[in-house]
Every structure is written in C-alpha cells, then in structure tokens.
C-alpha cells in the first residue's frame, strides 16, 4: 500500500473574519463575483467537461443528437407551418433554422441553469465554494451544443447554397452578445429557484411564450405589418433582445426574403451588448447578495 504522503495541499478557503454585518456594496459584490469565476476557472472547466461527457455517454447516437435536435425541430415547424400558412418566405427551412439554432442554445442553457444550484444541494451544505461557478458552467456547456448545432447549419447550407456568404463569419460576434445576455439571465433564474422551487415550471412557460413572441418563425417586418396601428407594440417588440438577435442571425445566414445575406445591424447589437453587460452586473449583484442564504435553504 502506498502510504499517504505528507501532504502540502491546502484549500483555498480563506481565513475570513466573518460576521453578521456583511452588507457589502453593489460594486464590491460584482467585483467579488468576477474574482470568484477567475479564481475557479478550472472548476468551471471540469463542470463543463463533466456535463458534456454525461450528455454524450448514455445515448446511442451520443453527441450526434446535438446536431440532429435543431434539425428535427426545424422539420416539425416546417411541416406544421406549411399546413397553417401556405406561402411563407422562400427557403423557409433556412429562414426559421437561423432562429431555432440560437434559441435552442438559450432555452437549454436557461433550463439547465435554473436547477444548477439546487442540483448541488449536498455539496453546498458541505463545502464552501463560490456558487456562481454553477450557472456559469451550465451556460458555458451550452456553447458546446451551439457549436455542434452550427454543424447542422453547415449541412443545411449545402441544400441552400445560394445563401452562402462571407457574412457567416459574424455568427461568433452575435453569439458573443447572446452569451452575455444568457449569462445574466441564468444568474437570476438559478438564484431564484433556490427560494422558489416551482420557478422551473414558470421559466418553461415563459420561455415558450417568449419564443413565439420573438420573430423566429416570422420576421420582424411581419410583426410590424400586423401591429401597424399600434406603434408602441412595434417598439416594444423591437426592444426584445431576441428580436435583435434573430434579425442579426437571419441577416448573416439567410438575408431577407427579397435580398441576399448582408452584415447585421451593428448599432442595435452594440446597444444590446451594453444593456446586457449592465444586466449582468445587476444579476451578479443580486446573486451575490442572496448567495450566503443558499446553504440554509437548499
């Protein structure tokens, strides 16, 4: 038997002076949140790897599902909508796929993040670690499935090669903006679900409603046409982050029904990015404020 060597490993748990009056300011908490993630990058990486390995391990087709999933969902919508609406835009499958792909990434990440903290209730009661790593890992794992989904996009592009353009290189830029927004949103649902266990049900329905209210199966122009007598509604619809994101993805992948692909609207993307960073700071603050109570409640 190998004897236990004299060990020099020490945990990172700081020697802290802790007291009840722990009301730290918002900026301080956001700073702590950033430090939490920076110091625990490796933990995030392990959690992401574990997540990916698990999802691929037990199914017959393994990771192939990540490619098939958005394609099959697209087929469902195409079949359904070709019965309801007869004359959709040309190359309709590619038209909706450009929205299904990012939406699946968002909804899967949020669904996963919602239970990310309560899933680890045992660990939280036994080990002191920054809980922020859990929703971060859940959303980061989503990036990988999105990347696999772009393989499906390439396959689809072979059938609609006329839409192929150099503007596809902007997909990572749009995805980056989406990631910041997703991260911010995930902190909120992850922390909220600790206190309200039925938040998961609510989130599921909100996501479904959000999808149908966003210009994914139809274009923003269609929405503007429907609500032409209600300019406020059109403004509100345009402020939906996924209106901006879907329009951007569609512009670089599909173009518009009447024109080939082009550059996305960088101004609205920049506005969304700035708003998302502000939102992220806010939800990091909320999360860090609630974090000390997690171990008592889970």
């Amino acid at each position: 038997m190998i004897p236990f060597r004299p060990m020099s490993a020490t945990s990172e748990v700081p020697a802290a002076f802790r007291n009840a009056a722990g009301d730290r300011g918002p900026l301080r908490l956001v700073g702590e949140g950033i430090a939490d993630i920076r110091s625990r990058r490796r933990l995030v990486r392990y959690l992401v790897q574990a997540d990916i390995r698990k999802r691929g391990a037990d199914t017959i087709l393994g990771n192939i599902w990540w490619i098939l999933d958005p394609l099959l969902q697209m087929v469902v919508y195409v079949v359904f909508l070709s019965i309801v609406v007869r004359n959709g835009p040309p190359d309709y499958p590619l038209f909706i796929f450009s929205a299904i792909l990012p939406w699946k990434w968002f909804s899967a990440s949020i669904t996963d993040a919602t239970t990310s903290i309560v899933r680890h209730d045992q660990l939280i009661k036994q080990i002191q670690f920054p809980k922020l790593v859990l929703p971060v890992a859940a959303t980061t794992a989503g990036i990988v499935s999105f990347a696999f989904g772009t393989v499906a996009l390439i396959v689809l592009m072979l059938f609609y090669s006329s839409h192929f353009s150099i503007y596809l290189v902007f997909i990572p830029v749009i995805a980056g903006v989406q990631f910041v927004f997703t991260l911010a949103f995930s902190f909120l649902v992850a922390a909220g679900n600790v206190f309200f266990r039925d938040l998961g049900n609510v989130v599921g329905h909100v996501l479904r409603l959000w999808w149908f209210l966003s210009p994914g199966l139809y274009s923003l122009a269609t929405l503007e046409l429907v609500f032409r007598d209600h300019p406020t509604l059109v403004t509100i619809a345009g402020m939906n982050p996924f209106a901006i994101l879907f329009e951007a993805y569609r512009m670089v992948i599909y173009g518009t029904p009447t024109s080939p692909p082009g550059p996305p609207n960088f101004v609205s993307l920049a506005v969304l990015l700035i708003a998302s960073i502000g939102f992220l700071a806010l939800t990091t603050f909320v999360f860090k404020r609630l974090e000390p109570n997690f171990a008592k409640v889970v």
Binding site: M1, I2, P3, F4, R5, P6, M7, S8, A9, T10, S11, E12, V13, A15, A16, F17, R18, N19, A20, A21, G22, R40, R42, L43, Y46, L47, A50, R53, K54, A57, D58, H120, Q122, L123, I124, K125, Q126, I127, Q128, F129, F195, F196, R197, D198, L199, V202, P292, N293, A295, K296, V297
Partner: protein
C-alpha cells in the same frame, strides 16, 4: 444591527485558531425546503409575520491552537450548523467568527458526488470544488485511489459503486487536504470494520497534524479518548463546556432524563412505554 449595539469582544490575539462571540444563526422558515411561489404569495397576502427559528444563539467559543474540541448533544441541537458556520458555509445572522488558517471540513461524506462520472473524474472534480490546485490534485491522485481500495473500478462510473466504495472514495478525497483547522462531522462510521479501523488511524493522523480540530460525534469513547475539551449543545445553546469526561457524563444524564420524560408523556397519552423505550 446587532453589530452596532454589541461590539465584537474578540481580542486580536494570535494564539486562537477559532474565536466566536455571541454567535447566532437564524433560519427564516418562510424559505425553508421547497417553498413555492403560491405559498409565499399566500404568506404575503395573509398575516405576513415571518416565522423564525434560531438554530444557534449566544454561542461563545474559543479554540486554541493544538486543541481538539468535541461538540456533543442530541439530534437537531445545532451541532452541524455550528460546523457549517466555522467552515464558512453559513454566515452567522448575529455575532462574529474569526478563523485563523485554512479550514477543511469533513462534513457528511459520500454525498455530493456525480454518479455519471468515473471515480477518477470525481476525484478531480472534488479537488476543484475543495479549491485544490489542479497539479496538487493530480499528484495526490494515485495515493487517493490506492487508499480508497477501488482497483479497476476507478475508471467506472460512480453509479456502479457499492455504498461502501462510495464512502471510501469520499473519505479518501476529503482527507487528502492538509488543513490548519479540521472540522469533522460524524465521519468515523464509514465503510466496513476494516476500513473503519483504517479511517480511524487516518483521522488520528490528521488530528495530530492539524493545528486545531472541532469534531461532532456521537461516539463518546472518541470524545474522552482524543479530545481535550468538549461542549454540550442543546436547542442551539451551549449548556456546558469543560473536561470531556464531565461533559459526556452530563450529556448522558440529560439523555436519560429526556428518555424518562418521553416515557412518562407516552404513559400519560396511553401508549405502551416499551414502544418508546425501543426507540
């Protein structure tokens, strides 16, 4: 705020490993296990006074370097809550805690593993959760595998493990850290007789190496044998502090009294007292 009314009484002296002053942990029963939005709304609309429960109250504690403190008491008295506060897992609602040095907690073992991952991946993940440097974890890997006696199972998913194997792995991971301050919560009853003996040896080793130990246990022999001080907690309050033998004796007397009371209550209610006795 409590802190303004009652300034911390801890003197900035270097010789203590743990110092707690007027420690209190309050649980808000509004947000206990599995609250739903509906029940919270009902509470807000109806009589909105939050029910509160003090798991610990007015606890003063000082553990010197080189000391080994036993925490005993009946179930639900607040022993584990105290360890959670010392480990930094729960922030006290009241009072101050000062912990000097690196803390490692061996709280209830075997839980918190990822069943789908292999033993090896669980060790790496566990190390990352504990905040160990990755190079250190990888260096410790062979000795952890060897110590847990898992053999080829180390590369099989954890769900294929027996509960004994899982407990051994948990113990091996948790004890791979070399802490300044060690917190133990009922870790002595792990695995079969063989492993129990082995783990006892290991715990004694760590206890000897650590600068301070706080231990929660129901094993009174351990308390009198390996601890140099003990506290008795009942209903969140420290009722006694002193020599392990004295505290253990008081605990025994209190437990006996509680049993007598329960028997009498059962008799008054017309239940066969033997049923209560057996419990």
């Amino acid at each position: 705020m409590a802190i303004l009314r009652r300034p911390p009484r801890i003197q900035p002296r270097a010789d203590h490993a743990i110092a707690a002053s007027d420690l209190g942990v309050r649980y808000d029963l509004r947000f206990t296990r599995k609250t739903t939005i509906r029940s919270s709304l009902a509470q807000m609309v109806g009589r909105g006074h939050a029910e509160q429960f003090w798991a610990l109250r007015h606890v003063d504690l000082r553990v010197q370097r080189g000391e080994s403190l036993a925490v005993i008491g009946p179930n639900g008295a607040g022993k584990s809550t105290l360890l959670q506060v010392l480990a930094g897992i729960i922030r006290p609602s009241e009072g101050v805690v000062d912990v000097v040095g690196h803390v490692s907690g061996l709280l209830t073992l075997g839980a918190g593993f990822d069943k789908e991952l292999t033993g090896r991946d669980n060790i790496l993940l566990g190390g990352a959760f504990l905040g160990l440097d990755d190079a250190v974890t990888r260096e410790l890997l062979p000795s952890i595998i060897e110590y847990a006696e898992l053999g080829d199972f180390i590369d099989a998913p954890l769900r294929t493990y027996s509960s004994g194997m899982r407990a051994r792995l948990g113990f091996a991971i948790a004890t791979s850290v070399d802490p300044d301050i060690l917190l133990l919560d009922e870790v002595l009853a792990t695995g079969d007789a063989n492993f129990r003996a082995k783990s006892k040896t290991r715990v004694i080793e760590i206890v000897a190496a650590a600068k301070a130990v706080v231990l929660v246990t129901h094993d009174m022999n351990w308390v009198t044998e390996y601890c140099n001080r003990a506290i008795l907690i009942e209903r969140g309050v420290v009722v006694m502090e002193g020599e392990p033998a004295d505290v253990v004796e008081t605990h025994r007397v209190h437990t006996e009294e509680a049993r007598v009371r329960a028997t009498e209550a059962a008799q008054a209610a017309g239940v066969d007292p033997r049923i209560v006795q057996i419990r």
